[in-house]
């Protein structure tokens, strides 16, 4: 079984579109959408849900005002600036509360209870080319790294049960906890970048994360012809740092057209230059020995 994560430090480089193409190229696969903050692949793949699992993303402190004496002890202990005293009334900011439970432990009146955030979901099901697992974090809920873990573990289980060899994980942007969760335990990482200053900066930060995991990394420069000299600069940097470039893809408006038609680019038109290049890149990534 091979797990391949598609990530990018910078958002909007074409990560999900390229992951969608990889997922629909040949044999049946498992797709895990790990961008639980802004899941998108389900739009293209319209999976039939077979399982829905509630995800508890943490807890929030809630005050029972019939017990609260307004002593303010909780405020002095809270390290997240979540508790303030407004007009002698203790107020907890839902936004700042980290759900650590400390206030509920130290309140002498036992006036604080913790309420679980249970609006987030994980789904598992089938799509036209295999199985799909994805998470949807409810608006404003946190701890997306843990939900990513759940998605990744579920994908592994689904791959085993259904005897599917390849799992493609579509990661979130950035380099924080959800990204680290996405690439934990995978076999290969594909980093999609674009020829901009921001693209290069974010690629460099992403590579540092990937290096910590000693994972084989493949860089794809998407929309390279929007700035060929910047693209060359990225290539040069990769070569100097012994990072494999799996390939370069041209900017093509058909990529958006395919998305509008809810298809991957290779499904939309397998004969385009970009579709052929994606096939070559995918082969290269698959064939590379672990």
């Amino acid at each position: 079984m091979t797990q391949i994560a598609v990530i990018s430090g910078k958002g909007g480089t074409g990560k999900s579109s390229i992951a969608a193409a990889f997922a629909t190229l040949n044999g049946k696969v498992v797709v895990a959408d790990c961008d639980v903050d802004a899941a998108n692949l389900y739009l293209l793949f319209n999976p039939i849900h077979e399982e829905e699992i509630v995800y508890i993303s943490g807890s929030k402190a809630v005050i029972n005002y019939s017990l609260c004496t307004g002593c303010g002890i909780c405020e002095s202990y809270c390290r997240f600036d979540a508790i303030s005293i407004i007009d002698k009334k203790v107020v907890i900011s839902e936004i700042s509360c980290d759900g650590c439970f400390l206030c509920s432990h130290i309140c002498p009146e036992k006036a604080i209870t913790m309420v679980r955030n249970d609006k987030s979901r994980m789904y598992s099901g089938s799509f036209r080319n295999g199985k799909m697992v994805y998470g949807r974090l409810a608006p404003g809920e946190e701890n997306s790294g843990k939900l990513v873990n759940m998605v990744r573990e579920k994908a592994k289980e689904v791959a085993k049960i259904n005897n599917l060899d390849t799992t493609i994980l579509d990661g979130p942007p950035g380099i924080g906890c959800p990204v680290i969760s996405t690439i934990t335990g995978v076999d290969k990482v594909v980093i999609v970048t674009e020829p901009t200053i921001s693209g290069l900066h974010d690629l460099q930060r992403t590579i540092e994360i990937v290096k910590k995991f000693s994972l084989p990394a493949f860089v794809v420069i998407n929309k390279y012809n929007l700035n060929s000299s910047m693209s060359n600069q990225i290539e040069k940097w990769c070569t100097q740092n012994e990072i494999t470039i799996a390939g370069k893809l041209p900017f093509d408006k058909q990529m958006t057209e395919a998305m509008v038609q809810l298809k991957s680019i290779t499904e939309f038109n397998p004969y385009l230059e970009i579709s052929n290049k994606i096939k070559v890149i995918w082969k290269k990534i698959l064939n590379q020995k672990k």
Binding site: S8, G9, K10, G11, G12, T13, S16, D37, A38, N40, L43, L44, S59, Y77, R79, F80, D81, I95, D98, G99, C100, F101, L102, H105, I106, L137, P139, G140, E141, E142, S144, G145, P172, P173, G174, I175, G176, C177, I180, E194, P195, T196, I197, S198, G199, H201, D202, R205, E208, I209, K212, L226, N227, M230, K253, T256, M259, V260, L262
Partner: protein
């Protein structure tokens, strides 16, 4: 002072492009402005300006250190820790802190009745302050690589906004979870940048759900207009959400941005458009405050 966050659920829709160009327009018009790059995982705004680093400071978090001589392995700290950051095997007299999981809440120190826990600061990242033309104007939150959450660094960066500035522009991280919420909840108004594609629309809806929950006014900029489809326009109309501005897809704009240049440096038309946009938002905020 007013604070305007530039955000989007989907990454790469042009948040930083809009934030840097608005900020540049304000500076060009001699308006006292600050730009705060809150995208601490992937900060990029500073690269677009000629700046001088004015100062910098570390953002730290406290993590527990356990004195195994004083520890009785009673397990109270583990019971109090809601992040599974304390690992304990009492029969073997083993106790370990998993620093990566620790949120620095201090619950374990409170739990320990034997004074066996002290705390030490660990670095999460930096807040860097830069000046333009000798004036402090740019604040950058930069998370260390390998750190789990950018939120404490974003909080510190926002605290650094100089009260003198008339307008602060906050370049938000993508997504709709904590880092995004931390940024928008500190703002008076949120500009959501989207693109007219199915992914763009889906993520826009999710961002707006979150903003409604928090209760912050917002409007939308459609970037790369001309690609994709019209679904986002229909949806905005149906839901009475203000379309603040459209920026057409233009390879020239993409090229200027890719080189780390600012469009409004030479393009007076866009400079005027961004200035009008800010005037419009200023008006919206003022009206709300008096209602």
């Amino acid at each position: 002072m007013i604070k305007i966050a530039i955000a989007s659920g989907k990454g790469g829709t042009g948040k930083t492009f809009v934030a840097t160009n608005i900020f540049h327009t304000l500076v060009k018009n001699q308006i006292d402005a600050a730009l705060v790059d809150c995208d601490a995982e992937a900060p990029n705004s500073v690269a677009f300006f000629q700046t001088k680093q004015a100062s910098a400071f570390k953002v730290t978090q406290l993590v527990p250190v356990i004195d195994t001589n004083a520890c009785t392995f009673c397990g109270k700290c583990q019971e109090y820790c809601n992040y599974n950051a304390i690992f304990i095997l009492p029969p073997m007299k083993i106790i370990n802190v998993i620093e990566d999981l620790c949120h620095g809440c201090g619950a374990c120190s409170v739990a320990c009745k034997y004074d066996a826990i002290i705390e030490k600061p660990v670095s999460l990242g930096m807040v860097n302050l830069y000046s333009i033309n000798g004036k402090p104007a740019l604040i950058e939150a930069r998370m260390n690589i390998g750190v789990m959450s950018p939120v404490p660094i974003i909080k510190e960066a926002i605290k650094q906004i100089n009260g003198q500035a008339e307008i602060a522009i906050l370049d938000s991280p993508p997504g709709t979870s904590c880092p995004f919420i931390q940024t928008v909840s500190a703002s008076d108004y949120v500009i959501l940048v989207t693109e007219p594609t199915p992914f763009g629309l889906s993520d826009l809806k999710q961002s707006i759900d979150t903003l409604i929950k928090i209760g912050i006014p917002y409007g939308v900029i459609i970037n790369r207009a001309g690609i994709g489809n019209f679904a986002v326009y229909d949806w905005l109309k149906e839901n009475n959400i203000p379309l603040l501005m459209e920026i057409p897809f233009d390879e020239e704009i993409a090229h200027i941005y890719s080189e780390g240049r600012i469009l409004t440096e030479d393009n007076v038309n866009y400079r005027n458009q961004f200035l009008n946009l800010i005037k419009k938002i200023n008006h919206i905020i003022k009206n709300q405050k008096y209602v």
